[in-house]
Subunit: 520 residues, 2 copies
Amino acid sequence: MVILSEWLAAQLDKDSAEPAYRQLLQLMQQAILTGRLAPGTKLPSSRTLAGDLGVARNTVLHVYDQLSAEGYVISTTGSGTYVADTRPDSAAVGTPTSAPANPPSPAAAPAGEDDDAAGASARGDMSMRGQRLIDEAGVSARQWGAFMPGVPDVAEFPARTWSRLQARLWKSANHGLLTYAPGGGYRPLRRALSDYLRVARSVRCTPDQIIITTGIHQSIDLAVRLLADHGDTAWVEEPCYWGARSVLQSSGLKLAPIPVDDEGLNPREQDLRDPPRIALVTPSHQYPLGMVMSLARRRTLLEYARQHKVWIIEDDYDSEFRYGSRPLASLQGLDDSDRVIYVGSLGKLLFPGLRIGYMVVPERLAATFRTGVAELYREGQLMQQAVLAEFIMDGYLTSHVRRMRTLYGERRQLLIDAVTRHFGDALPVMGDEAGLHFVLGLPEHADDPAIAAAAYDAGVIVRPLAAYYSVRQDRKGLLTGYACVPHEEIAPAFATLARVIEEHAFDRPEATPEKQRRAG
Amino acid sequence: MVILSEWLAAQLDKDSAEPAYRQLLQLMQQAILTGRLAPGTKLPSSRTLAGDLGVARNTVLHVYDQLSAEGYVISTTGSGTYVADTRPDSAAVGTPTSAPANPPSPAAAPAGEDDDAAGASARGDMSMRGQRLIDEAGVSARQWGAFMPGVPDVAEFPARTWSRLQARLWKSANHGLLTYAPGGGYRPLRRALSDYLRVARSVRCTPDQIIITTGIHQSIDLAVRLLADHGDTAWVEEPCYWGARSVLQSSGLKLAPIPVDDEGLNPREQDLRDPPRIALVTPSHQYPLGMVMSLARRRTLLEYARQHKVWIIEDDYDSEFRYGSRPLASLQGLDDSDRVIYVGSLGKLLFPGLRIGYMVVPERLAATFRTGVAELYREGQLMQQAVLAEFIMDGYLTSHVRRMRTLYGERRQLLIDAVTRHFGDALPVMGDEAGLHFVLGLPEHADDPAIAAAAYDAGVIVRPLAAYYSVRQDRKGLLTGYACVPHEEIAPAFATLARVIEEHAFDRPEATPEKQRRAG
């Protein structure tokens, strides 16, 4: 017992900010776990130990109580406090094989095994799907700045209006808005969204068919878990959004990349022979290339889905931002066979961190999806949904989108002007007059990931088209976002990007447009 | 052409609130899709049609523009506007078999098929895992009221404090808080949580090891997708939380339910022979029964996990609310082999709709999990995370938890008093002195789902223990939550519940305690 007191006294740091209670508790736990205090050892009385250590007796009493509550010691009335025997029983630990003759005890494990475990990289710890997810991850560490694609200008978001609506709702003390959201989301928001989608996107729906989610990722995840099994096939466009690919793969779906051309999704003979369970498409504005799916292709796809019971997930990405023509109608609005799950998000319209999206499901699936979203994700955020509902109903969404459409249209033109100034028509701008980015085409031999990496180091964010292809990259280019870049920063940031492109894509000096111009 | 104008004139409703532009657009789309306007038909000039219909020529021009943009018609300069041929080509639609001889055209499909499709319930549409998820869903349509288990009293939440912090942050115009959150969450929140968990839960971690999620569901989902593959086994406690079961199953894991006894998880010989990839446990407070995992069992489990490379997911549910002893230390704090993924949530402490949770992962997995959470869920909500960080750092979390601990402790006692008053000791109260609910034990022959359903109809929410078992229900009872019920409502609500229990569980009149007392 003297030894325990001496050891504890040596370890206790009375000048530490850590209270004596916590220090003593941790020291004694450590002593028991390491075997310094062997099972069955009787602890000194609280009075004795307190005296030896020069701490209050109450401190020791609290430590003993806690050790007892956590099972480190056993207190018996009258006869004192003993260290409990909590050593793992090697029989109970068991063996993975069915041969019980020589169960490997912890001590018998080869020394190298522990070293391996401690020194192993994360790679060895992960599942196959986890490793694939990380290896193929497309997410960027930076989320803001020229020319981050797919990001709206959050500095233009009417934050004061939002904050005012929010403060009013918090003041109203509606406690129902603080609980879980089991019914598919806040009802008035679903009503407001169904009105908006009917008018703006020709979507045919009632508020009942709307399920509020946290965004496109969750909407796709929910649809896939409810409608597809492990091993089922999903058509994705080639190229397509990396995030959708990751969600589908990690839910066990096999991806079948389907080519796109100027009219959108263009399945080949061999694709059609093997109907998928799910087809994920971006008909309004192909992501990332920007073409619009033609009406003929839409009708063909819907008919194919009807015949072969394919679920179409329509990602109506960026559909509000069109600078030339009006927004096109949704695929869902053409569907008479209830094969389309329509998904959208408010993140590109308002701000990405909002995390409110929605899906429109066929009427007969609505109850199923409401249950599914609550069961899988235990949704909440009704307060934020209520703020958004007011924001929409008071007309702020429409006027903000209108204002941003003008702003982004101007920025798009400024960026195109900068491209033309630097490269003439050597680098084509791909993509319809829509969305928050375009694809800056690069020569066939260009290494777009290397260029994107070099641009990143130079302070400009672009994404290589390579990241969006699953199988065969038949176009080279950079996703270049203009929406979040203030007008005056566009030209200087593009000058930096142009320098990087010239250094990498035009390695033969005579082929550099800038040098040609200088020479000419 | 006369026919088209006449048909359109008959359909147009000039008194409708719907603008003539939208009406005309929809009518012409419909006419083209149904074949009333055949492919190749030349449309009348805008001037002619406007005259025939008595609408402005600009209206017709806009309709033609939109029809052209959406691919319904083709406009050729000089020679007019023609209906495009967008009919699905039956060759392009293809067949599911490899026999191209007789491709079934849409018209050739048996009539019954369409009827089936239209009349089918959702059941036929779903995947196996989706059907299972919905069939076994535990989520309740009501989320508030006596005696909803697992729900804190949101009316006691310091909403004004929260709203004030929130308004201040929105005013600060920190645009970075409105973008995606790719780095595992808001850094100051991760620092505040790591401090909190170290002190309150003996968790060993740095801020780097903390990943912010939307709650327990997402934390489990992420761990399972990164660390386990389809077909891997997961140990779950028997009984356990239905939500965790649903998440694991829909990610493709096979569940192995492991019995629990008074010391927590108690694997049998046959369980140990087949080590799982994942073991999901609630050591602080078994959910839903409430026992604490003993130190001996903790050490055995950790040793087993080390030997067999099992990932332990520690759900530290309700650990802050203990009314008798102090909170027990976490399993994670005992783990020397980096096998524990610790998950927790703020929803039970503050309000469920908040949707902020966290996980603590081993250091060598931290970067992987940060990438994984961003890639799979595209997280945001940094503004809300910043509000929470301030709330914690200003000491509001600690004082709120302290206040709620007293309040819930009182409510728990009031409810136990009511149980004793009605039933004496005929119905045991199960569960440690902790958490937001206890289990009211029922006689062996009781049908707890039927009793819960009858109670629901009588206006009282309880959950049957049956919903928490996967294989064999060896205890009957009702999860009864007291945290969200004001003191004065506890006795009357329990009187209602007691009546339902008496009617159902004590069907032989002489066995009803209430009647016995009345008779006595």
